[in-house]
Amino acid sequence: MSTNSSYKGGIVIPNPYPPKEIGITQASLPSKVVLSLNERMTEKAIPCVEVGDRVLTGQIIALNDDYNSVPIHATISGEVTSIDDQLIPHKSGFKTQCITIESDGKDEWVKGHNSTTDYLKIEPSELIDRIRNAGIVGMGGAGFPTHTKLGLAKNCNTIIVNGTECEPGIMCDDVLMQNYPKEIIRGVEILLHICRADRAVIAVEDDKREALNSLLLYNFNDKITIELIPTKYTSGSEKLLIKTLFNKEIPSGGFAIDEGFVCQNVSTVKAIFDAVIDDKPLVSRIVTVTGSAISKPDNYEVRLGSSIEHIASISIPNNKYSVRMGGMMMGIDVPSIVAPISKISNCIFINYESSDIDPKECIRCGACNQVCPVELLPQQLYWYSKSGNTEKAAEYNLLDCIECGCCSYVCPSHIPLVEYFSFAKALHRKQTEEKNRAEIARGRFEYREFRIERNKLERAEMMNAKKKAIKAKMAKEKSQKDKIAAAMERVKKKKGGSSAQ
């Protein structure tokens, strides 16, 4: 295995709020949790409890028959107080249906029946079902349902465990690897068994030496190796990580799964361990809380659905601050600090609002071209996105943009480039959908015209045929009448002739 076959682009960004030491703080039980039923990339879950029901921790409270959906679990025990629309962190700022549970303080768990240490005897398909039932999705930020990914991995030869945590400021994966190395290694072994892969690689950035050492201490499996890769932002992106580790480029529009690679975030791997060995569903995660408004950056193990406020203590609460969920480069702004934490919330940034520098015009300096890890031309994409010319932008490979934010970071005119690209991508999706709908409508309209014409013709033909039939009938009748008249004439003649004699 070769390392350091790096890709062009990407930036080395120092951690803006480095802590003196890092560890995990167990957050207290929240007083209530708000659990969204609309998980990313899956169908909406339908509640199977009602307002007023008492639920236990780990109990399934909503699910959907669609195979790709994961069930939603209660993350604390208590009473379901409402099932209504609540604000969740999302770019659109829309509300979505959520189940709110008030804690009874007891944290009573649902009984688990399937805990096992002998996972090697269990069929991979059953293990995948367990992963589904535990509600596990990609915890690195994408939220893709893990069981779907594993189910699609037909010819997997390599498992990649993404412990790079390349976005500066986030430490939750680092601290997980330092404190739970045994569970992670066991989780990787479970994945090796499920995917029937030959080898597994745990990728760690070279600024995380303690994590590396802690993993090495507990790794006795020949199939698992731990690779150090150069610290660089965007090295954690799946395709770029594969390029760095194996010098292989997944074709644009293709998937790593099809090339034999299964990539999972290290937090997801630990969740898989919990699900298979301890039969515990995914109810909590580690979240980094940092930012200029936080006096001591720290990592909290907190129940899903807790509000951000529950773990974020702001040093000077009266000053204006902004809340960001996710990293400083790819995160989204959250309008309120009471929004709930979800499975994909890896970090919360709380910054005192500083006066933003107004963006200036683009001077075509090309700095953005130099740092794009996918080797696009952000400058050209900017000009086309700005004018809504999604066709030309798509020609310049807009759809390959991973929205990493490297270009916005270096722009001397402070142009928010990534926001233009998100807009252009959304617009392109909408326009493509509209075009498809218009095609279908055109087709149906043309068919309807054809059908009406055809009906007319058929009717006309039928009328003609009927007319002919009547004529023929009348003609037949006429000939019949003629025969009768002729016969009667003959009879008359006979009679007349005989009477004349």
């Binding site: 609309n38 999302h90 770019k91 659109s92 829309f94 979505t96 107004d358 963006p359 200036k360 015009e361 700005k386 809504g388 142009i415 928010p416 926001e419 233009y420 998100s422 807009f423 959304a426 617009l427 999706r429 909408k430 959908e433 509209e434 709908r437 218009a438 095609e439 279908i440 409508a441 055109r442 149906r444 309209f445 043309e446 068919y447 309807r448 015209e449």
Partner: protein
């Protein structure tokens, strides 16, 4: 003098042959302009442009009988796109033909429907499913929001419901993003 006459005659002959060959080889069947115009129109088939469908309107534009600003569902963007295609000045959408409304679909109130099938006959894209004396319903994915079924329903049981953007197909407002100066 003679040479120049000969040279120019030969050139004229040669160029004429080339043009003739091109006219023959690259001849296009039908009028592609109508197809191009039709590709821009939204295919709502509503008739607000005063033509019985999008294709007849496209043909009218191509032959010069209609203006490009008669299509409300296409909105101002549609007028601008047509102007660009035909290389003419763009115009404001002609409000006399109707106003641009957000995307809607028809929804039948099943408890009121009497199964008269008038809506099925009125729909230009056959988006209704039903039969005589049987309850009718709308295939939402096929409905173009043209409003032609509303006036014909004798019991007024059809509503036009606006399609709201969801988290999946949300498009951010570019004006908020682009605030230079």
């Amino acid at each position: 003098m003679l040479y120049s006459v000969i040279i120019f005659s030969l050139m004229a002959l040669f160029i004429g042959l080339v043009l003739g060959y091109a006219a023959f080889k690259f001849k296009v069947d039908g009028n592609p302009l109508v197809d191009q115009i039709d590709a821009i129109l939204p295919q709502t088939q509503c008739g607000q442009c005063d033509y019985p469908g999008c294709r007849p309107y496209a043909e009218a534009i191509a032959s010069g009988d209609a203006q490009i600003n008669q299509c409300p569902p296409g909105g101002q963007e549609g007028v601008d796109a047509l102007a660009e295609l035909l290389d003419v000045e763009t115009m404001f959408l002609n409000e006399e033909h109707g106003e641009t409304k957000p995307k809607r679909v028809a929804v039948v109130d099943e408890s009121v429907c009497i199964g008269c099938t008038l809506c099925i006959q009125a729909c230009p894209v056959d988006a209704f499913v039903g039969a005589s004396k049987v309850m009718t319903t709308v295939i939402a994915d096929e409905c173009t929001g043209c409003d032609l079924c509303i006036p014909v329903c004798p019991v007024d049981c059809i509503d036009m419901v606006e399609i709201m953007p969801t988290m999946r197909n949300f498009v951010p407002d570019i004006a908020e993003v682009a605030s230079v100066y």
